[in-house]
């Protein structure tokens, strides 16, 4: 998985490319450890192939953290990833655009 970061003041966009799974979720978790001062986090999933529960765990903790210091949204979700969000109820938790 590739992680591409684009920071503009307190706005951070992270684009993911590949698969967010057991192997790669720790990499994203590490990246999201440094969210100090970020008020708007956008996760761009246009090049994300799929997500497993390991990825959902990281998204949930990022969502909780960003709820306290601003907000987080997920954009450009493909059909497969969207199905995972629907089945697990994450579509009700996350802001998906």
């Amino acid at each position: 998985m590739k992680i591409i970061k684009d920071q503009n003041g307190t706005q951070l966009t992270i684009a993911l490319e590949g698969r967010l799974d057991t192997t790669t979720a720790p990499e994203l978790e590490k990246e999201l450890g440094g969210l100090n001062g970020v008020t708007a986090l956008t996760l761009d999933f246009s090049r994300l192939e799929y997500i497993s529960s390991a990825g959902l765990r990281v998204l949930l903790s990022a969502h909780k953290r960003m709820s306290r210091q601003g907000g987080m949204k997920v954009t450009n979700v493909n059909e497969i990833v969207n199905e995972v969000f629907e089945v697990t109820g994450f579509s009700d938790i996350l802001t998906i655009e």
Binding site: T22, Y50, S52, S53, V87, G89
Partner: protein, 135 residues
């Protein structure tokens, strides 16, 4: 039937995925079903890699079967680790809010929702878990 035996390690998940993807592609599997099976491999092989053998490591055998007439594909995971029937796990409450949610429990749930059938057997000291998906 095709099979592959390898160490129960997280870093081997991608080898299992590549092995199964090759067989699915050879049988003209639709991309969506293939991706759902890949996610299931991540959940199930990942579980075995992280929990089956405690601090030790052991082997996992991954078996692929395909019934041409029904187009039903199956992937079986066999390990000799601690007895664990994932189908006995309580289903997570997917209606809870973010604050009420806890990490975990979603993997098996997701597999059961996206596969056509999941079966578990404990036999001769082994966990035998099979997922079925029409491709």
């Amino acid at each position: 039937m095709k099979e592959l035996t390898l160490k129960a390690l997280v870093e081997n998940i991608s080898r299992v995925t590549a092995f199964i993807d090759g067989l699915l592609e050879a049988n003209d599997c639709a991309l969506k079903a293939q991706t759902q099976i890949d996610v299931a491999i991540d959940e199930l092989f990942g579980n075995v890699a992280q929990y089956a053998y405690g601090d030790a490591t052991g082997d996992v055998t991954v078996r692929f079967d395909f019934d041409q007439s029904t187009r039903m594909a199956s992937v079986t995971f066999v390990d000799s680790g601690v007895p664990f029937n994932p189908l006995e796990q309580a289903e997570p409450d997917v209606t809870l809010s973010a604050a009420e949610r806890e990490a975990g429990g979603l993997g098996i749930f997701l597999v059961r929702k996206t596969m056509d059938r999941v079966e578990y057997q404990r036999k001769n000291g082994m966990n035998i878990l099979t997922i079925y998906k029409r491709i």
